[in-house]
Every structure is written in structure tokens, then in C-alpha cells.
């Protein structure tokens, strides 16, 4: 007898698929799911034909904001977002890194004015692959490993 763990389908909400396994919990963190009262399923290290292993996050009763999609795009550039209604996928979209990131990222430069005085943050994406972004204020160029989400 094979044992299989089934993750129940959701009636309405969002499924984020094709997350690199090691970023799965970061996606959950971005979505601030600890305070979400409805069904959440998080799967990591699931087999994937294209990625080897992948993560998946299903959240009932939630649609994503632009900031959330932008943040997911930074840590999981190949993720797909499925919007579910009545147990059906009504829309499937691939995340993409936008040309600029508003209030999404914290500048890695401790001497940047944005880390010392209350202000918005703004970054320009100068290269998507490999990811390189430039702070609108201090002009510091950051690579993927320096990037900290707000």
C-alpha cells in the first residue's frame, strides 16, 4: 500500500508554484501568513520535472498585492501564480521582475539616507539575470545576495 499525503484543493485563493525549494518559507514570510486565518498549505522539496525539486504555497482567501508579487519575483524569479475561483485556475501568470521596485527592498548601504531617516525606498533594476539593482538615493549597486526585502 502506498501512502500519499494529499494537499487539499482550495476553493478560492492563490497558489504560488515553481518556487526554488530553499525559498519556499521566504515566500510564506513575504505573504505574512502567520496571521492569515484561512487554509494555508506549504510544500517544499516536492519533485519537479524542470527544477529537480520545488516549493509550492497555497493560500485560501488571498489575492496578492503588487509589492508581494515583486518581492516573490526577486527570490523566486521563475515562480508562477495561479488564481483560483470555484476550485478552478482562472488565471495563471509568471512573476516577472519589474523595472523599478518601490518600498520592496531595504538598501544594503548602512550610510544610505533611507536607512537613517524615514523615507520610501526606490530601486532601479539594471540587470534581471543576474539580478542587479541600483538605489535611487545612494546609487549603490546591489546584487542578489545583498538584497534584503522590507
Amino acid at each position: 500500500m502506498t501512502k500519499e499525503l494529499t494537499v487539499s484543493a482550495i476553493e478560492e485563493g492563490t497558489v504560488i508554484d515553481h518556487i526554488p525549494s530553499d525559498s519556499t518559507f521566504k515566500v510564506a514570510e513575504i505573504l505574512k501568513l502567520e496571521s492569515h486565518g484561512k487554509i494555508i498549505s506549504v510544500g517544499a522539496n516536492l519533485p519537479s520535472k524542470t527544477m529537480g525539486t520545488k516549493g509550492i504555497v497555497k493560500v485560501a482567501g488571498k489575492s496578492l498585492t503588487k509589492e508581494e508579487v515583486d518581492k516573490i519575483a526577486i527570490i523566486a524569479p521563475h515562480a508562477t501564480v495561479n488564481i483560483i475561483k470555484n476550485f478552478e485556475v482562472i488565471k495563471k501568470l509568471r512573476v516577472s521582475i519589474p523595472d523599478s521596485l518601490h518600498n520592496t527592498i531595504k538598501c544594503s548601504n548602512p550610510n544610505c539616507i533611507t536607512n537613517n531617516e524615514e523615507s520610501d525606498t526606490e530601486f532601479y533594476v539594471i540587470s534581471k539575470d543576474p539580478l542587479k539593482i541600483k538605489c535611487h538615493y545612494c546609487e549603490r549597486v546591489m546584487e542578489k545576495e545583498d538584497i534584503r526585502l522590507l
Partner: protein, 305 residues
């Protein structure tokens, strides 16, 4: 793009045409000083960090053009110490002045200041980031002492890692088909991102530790101070200070027409024995600050087209 009401924050915001236009107006004002051009205008000079040349030359520029100056020369004497934000200080100052010059120890401060202010803001240095008026006066000096900017062989010497003047000047000169020679100990070499940008622009450059290996190729040698204040660790600073000292030993190894520049203050990078040689352009460079800053003030205040 017109200059009236324009902020002067980063050299990256200026095209080749913009830069040449500033130099043209600076030249006009040097030839024909226009005493009353900014009469009735007020410049606020908000200097949160000490500065000698930049602050004095801004004040001189404004006053020689007939304008008046308000402001402070140290963050210690302002509401900054009471916790007032830069944003709020700008919101207040825009009611008092027609143009605001800001120097601040934090990077990005000038950009934020410009966003807060409806009056034009000129960046007089924001931490290790930008000092665009220095770059413009460097270009002006090169044009004046070499008769051109295009196609020169430019050596950058000293602290290329932390030196903002070197970063901005490299960026500005990139419009003018240069060949660069970056001369520094490995630990203080040009940051990778700048070299990658030069690769992208297909600009020729050499990275070298030994000045004498390339000195005979140079048209301009831009020396910089190893800046103590940029080092977190004083032991690191001690290791690098004084590694390049220019003196008369250099003379047999350079072109007769080589010009030596330095943003000043110098500590011991250039020996005084070079001051009276025809190579020294650094004091003239400091003097040129007034012409370029006059040009910028007149342009952003709409008194020059």
C-alpha cells in the same frame, strides 16, 4: 533638457551636451564676470559636514554674482542635533531661499533633499556617493589645461575604491572617448561595478599598481588623497597612506605636457617641489570651482539659458 529649476544631484543625471553646456557658461562667466546677475536671489548653504573649498567657493560664486547667502557650516549648530529630519529642514528652507546647496554625510541625502524641496537643490557632496560640481570643475580644468577633453589618456591615482571624485569623473569622462589608467594598490582599486560599466561602453582601461609602468602614457594624472575618514579600521589606513607620493623623481618618467590634478586637500600625495612646475594644475583646479559653480547657480536660477 533646460537647466532652469533643475536639481544638480548626480553626474549620472547629465548628458554630454549638458556637461558641455555648463562648461560653456562657466567660460563665459570667467571671461566676463556678471556682477549683478543674481541680485535679489538667496542661496541657502546647508553644510552638515565640514568643507573648506566647496563651501567657500559656493559662497564666493553667489556673492560675486550679487546674490546673498544664508546657512550653516556644521550640522552641530542646527536643529539636526534636536532630531529634525533633513526632509523637514528642506521644507522650511525652501521658503527662505531661491536655491539650496546641501552637503550631508549620508549617501542619497541630496536626492531626498531635492524631493522635499520645490526650489532647485545642488549637491555639494553626499557621503561617499556624489559630488557633481567637483566633477564639472574637473572637466572644466581638463578642458582649460589640455585644450580639449576628447581622446585623452587619463591616470587615476590613489584611493580609487572610496574616492567619489574618481568615480564621478570616470563616469563623466566616459562621454569623451578616454583611455583610463587606474593606479592603486589592489585593495583600493576601482570597484568592479565601474569597470564593468567601462567594459559595457567599450572604453579602454588599464589596472596597474606601479605608477612608473604607465606614467609616460598619461596626458592627465588625477591624484587623490587616501581618505582616513572612509576607513573603518585605522590599521588599514596606516597601511595605505603615503603609498604614492608624487615628487621630482616622477619628472623623467612623464610627458612634458602632463598635467597633475588633485581635488585637494592634499596630505602628502604631491610634494611641494612640484607646485611651481608646469605640470601642477591643482590650484588652478580649485580656482575653477568658482566659475563652474557660478554657471550652475545662474543656470538653475534661470538667469542663463
Amino acid at each position: 533638457m533646460g537647466f532652469k529649476n533643475r536639481d544638480v544631484i548626480s553626474i549620472n543625471d547629465f548628458s554630454k551636451q549638458d556637461l558641455l553646456h555648463v562648461l560653456k557658461v562657466a567660460k563665459e562667466l570667467e571671461k566676463k564676470p556678471n556682477d549683478g546677475l543674481l541680485k535679489g536671489k538667496i542661496m541657502a548653504a546647508l553644510f552638515y559636514e565640514p568643507s573648506t573649498r566647496t563651501r567657500l567657493s559656493f559662497i564666493t560664486s553667489m556673492e560675486q554674482l550679487g546674490g546673498r547667502v544664508i546657512g550653516f557650516a556644521s550640522g552641530k549648530v542646527t536643529s539636526f542635533t534636536k532630531g529634525e529630519t533633513l526632509w523637514d529642514t528642506m521644507k522650511m528652507t525652501e521658503n527662505y531661499a531661491d536655491v539650496i546647496v546641501v552637503r550631508h554625510p549620508l549617501e542619497g541625502a541630496a536626492r531626498l533633499a531635492a524631493e522635499a524641496s520645490s526650489k532647485p537643490v545642488i549637491n555639494a557632496g553626499d557621503g561617499a556617493n556624489q559630488h557633481p560640481t567637483q566633477t564639472m570643475l574637473d572637466l572644466y580644468t581638463i578642458q582649460k589645461v589640455k585644450g580639449k577633453i576628447d581622446g585623452l589618456h587619463i591616470g587615476m591615482l590613489g584611493d580609487l575604491k572610496y574616492g567619489r571624485t574618481v568615480h564621478s569623473l570616470t563616469k563623466a569622462l566616459s562621454h569623451f572617448n578616454p583611455t583610463f589608467y587606474f593606479i592603486a594598490p589592489q585593495a583600493l582599486q576601482m570597484p568592479k561595478s565601474y569597470l564593468e560599466e567601462l567594459d559595457r561602453l567599450k572604453i579602454k582601461y588599464y589596472v596597474e599598481e606601479n605608477l612608473f609602468k604607465v606614467s609616460d602614457k598619461l596626458d592627465v594624472l588625477y591624484a587623490t588623497r587616501i581618505q582616513k575618514e572612509r576607513f573603518a579600521d585605522p590599521i588599514e589606513y596606516e597601511k595605505y597612506k603615503g603609498v604614492y607620493k608624487l615628487d621630482k623623481d616622477l619628472l623623467p618618467h612623464i610627458k612634458k605636457e602632463l598635467k597633475i590634478m588633485h581635488p585637494l586637500p592634499r596630505v602628502d600625495e604631491i610634494d611641494r617641489s612640484l607646485d611651481n612646475t608646469e605640470h601642477a594644475a591643482y590650484f588652478q583646479q580649485a580656482a575653477n570651482g568658482v566659475h563652474v559653480r557660478k554657471a550652475l547657480l545662474a543656470l538653475v536660477l534661470g538667469k542663463k539659458e
